[in-house]
């Protein structure tokens, strides 16, 4: 009687000490549940508030479910809210964010992957020095380079344009992404690169035919990182963007910061939800990749 291989892997010791003590297990569950509720609470409030009417909200029962849930506030937020320049709602902001996102993603991934590949798989003079420099760059706060960046973007007429925002995002992402790519590509077995060169492949050939096909995972991770980061960005979009074409986060802030008039919290929450949904969807569907993305970004520090 042979033992099924699928079982065999579980025959290795039950890893840790499961909290055999049922008391501690119960306490843990309780604590975890309490925290889970606390963490989920803001999202719940956001959703619930966005579905209520302002009268209901003014009654002050923040956790109560809406009496008659309605998507009016959502409609308002998407189509009609005053978002700074005009009353077109978040709709335009959404598309602006997309317009900013796509070139940023393309450029940042293209430049950093090629550079990371060169540093990882080829002999580049001063390669190590460049990596150290990039490491330092990754930590430099935006405020330090903000003003010169503004001046430079004005000079090349990219200031106040969506493409300018994309360029700035690319610049900001290059240090970290290059390091991430470098570390990933460095883990590709050297023999594969050598074999490719023996077969006549050179720099680009090896990149396109050998390295890239091995990289779907890291590409997804980087894409998730960038999409989330760029979509959620505020300051860069505000500083460099076209006043008529701000990304969604800036629109959101404008909507909610109106000092005049009535504060329509249901619309604000609906607007927040609309802005949060794209990255949240990515998060809920990509699970592990998302985690790998954030840890990849951090562990290079």
């Amino acid at each position: 009687m042979k033992i099924d291989p699928s079982i065999r892997s579980q025959m290795i010791l039950p890893n840790r000490l499961p909290a055999k003590n049922p008391l501690s297990k119960a306490i843990f569950y309780l604590l975890l549940s309490v925290f889970a509720v606390l963490f989920a609470m803001p999202l719940y409030v956001m959703i619930v508030t966005s579905l209520k009417s302002m009268d209901e909200i003014r009654m002050g029962h923040i956790f109560a479910l809406p009496i008659t849930p309605s998507f009016d506030a959502w409609d308002m937020a998407w189509n009609k809210a005053a978002s700074g320049f005009d009353n077109t709602g978040l709709k335009s902001g959404f598309w602006n964010s997309v317009i900013i996102l796509i070139p940023s993603l393309a450029m940042s991934v293209a430049f950093s992957s090629v550079c990371g590949y060169a540093l990882a798989c080829w002999n580049v003079k001063m390669g190590n020095f460049l990596l150290m420099a990039l490491l330092v760059c990754a930590f430099i706060p935006f405020q330090v380079i903000m003003y010169p960046l503004i001046k430079m973007s004005v000079a090349v007429k990219l200031y106040n344009t969506s493409f300018g925002v994309s360029v700035v995002h690319t610049v900001l992402a290059l240090p970290i992404l290059t390091m991430i790519f470098k570390n990933y590509f460095a883990s590709i077995p050297e023999e594969l690169i050598k074999a490719s060169r023996v077969d006549g492949g050179r720099f680009w050939g090896t990149f396109v035919y050998v390295v890239l096909p091995l990289s779907p995972n890291i590409m997804i991770v980087v894409a998730i990182m960038q999409i989330t980061g760029i979509w959620n960005d505020f300051l860069v979009g505000l500083t460099f963007g076209n006043v008529k074409a701000y990304p969604m986060t800036v629109n959101l802030n404008n909507i909610t910061q109106t000092q005049t008039g009535v504060r329509v919290y249901n619309v604000y929450m609906a607007a927040a939800m609309l802005t949060a949904i794209p990255p949240l969807l990515i998060y809920f569907f990509s699970g592990k990749m998302f985690i790998r993305g954030i840890t990849a970004g951090a562990l290079k520090g």
């Binding site: 606390l38 909200i57 003003y147 990255p279 699970g287």
Partner: protein, 295 residues
């Protein structure tokens, strides 16, 4: 690298050339800007650059500004408070290591705030802290009359509001980092501890936590730098109020550049910020080297 006959200069140096764009960007945008900031901070620039050298006058002006001093002290409290993310994240990771059912569910719940923009974080928590319609009202309705949870409205407590929002946002991240660190212990070592009769608590204190020194150090640096960079959340939650009591240096600098139009002082502030960040990195490097030497 063997040179293949007949290939062009471009081909032979393809790798080095590929690196050039990034190198240029790093040099020009990052180092160039840093140098520019440092230079400008020592000039008399106001709305327009003015290359008159004034030594450390801008810095003196900067540090005489009560608002700047306030923002620095706020930064200290904020960074300290943010450590809560690390502590909470670690404990959550420890609890989740007990092989409980629903581990994935819990992890998903703790981590989702990371996916959300800081503007939204600030907005939601501002709403939660709303005195008449938010949490304060909730607690009052429960019978606790005069319960005070208006953290955002009062200058003594506004930083705590920011800290709470920021802990909500980043705990998941530090939970993931801690989890990875805890999993670094081989399952056979756990088995050995069971045979030796060593309690889980002891294992954490004497084996796991020491093993995670590097992770903790890295987290501390990341948290500090995150605090230094914090901007969006202030805009969304408090706009620096009340009375500048929730301003942080990054916010102050942007304000200085954009609203108060003072390049000189903005540059000075940026340079200080840069120094802070570099300081943290050096500290990190030093501690890392020291602990490696001890082994």
């Amino acid at each position: 690298m063997a040179k293949v006959k007949g290939t062009s200069f471009v081909h032979r140096h393809a790798a080095s050339l590929a690196v050039v764009p990034v190198m240029l960007i790093a040099l020009v945008f990052y180092f160039g800007s840093a140098v520019w900031s440092m230079v400008m901070s020592m000039t008399a620039s106001k709305i327009f650059p003015d290359m008159t050298f004034v030594g450390v006058k801008q810095y003196i002006r900067l540090f005489s500004d009560a608002l700047w001093a306030l923002s620095l002290s706020n930064l200290g409290w904020y960074a300290l408070g943010s450590l809560g993310s690390l502590v909470l994240g670690f404990f959550l990771a420890v609890m989740l290591e007990s092989n409980l059912a629903g581990e994935r569910f819990f992890k998903t719940v703790f981590l989702y705030p990371m996916a959300v923009s800081l503007i939204i974080t600030g907005l939601v928590w501002q709403w939660l802290f709303n005195p008449s319609m938010g949490l304060q009202q909730f607690f009052r309705d429960l019978g606790l009359q005069d319960f005070d949870f208006n953290l955002v409205g009062k200058k003594e407590t506004v930083m705590w509001a920011l800290v709470i929002a920021s802990i909500w946002q980043s705990t998941g991240f530090y939970m993931v980092l801690s989890s990875a660190g805890i999993k670094g212990i081989d399952s056979e070592v756990w088995a050995a501890s069971r045979i030796d009769g060593i309690s889980k608590l002891r294992m954490y204190i004497e084996v796991i936590i020491p093993m995670m020194k590097f992770t903790f150090l890295t987290s501390f640096v990341l948290l500090s730098i995150g605090a230094v960079k914090a901007y969006d959340i202030i805009v969304a939650m408090t706009n620096g109020g009340p009375g500048g009591h929730s301003e942080l240096p990054s916010y102050y600098i942007v304000d200085m550049y954009v609203n108060r139009q003072n390049i000189g002082m903005g540059a000075a502030g940026s340079t200080i910020l840069l120094a802070l960040v570099l300081g943290f990195i050096l500290l990190f490097g030093a501690i890392n080297l020291l602990s490696k030497k001890k082994e």
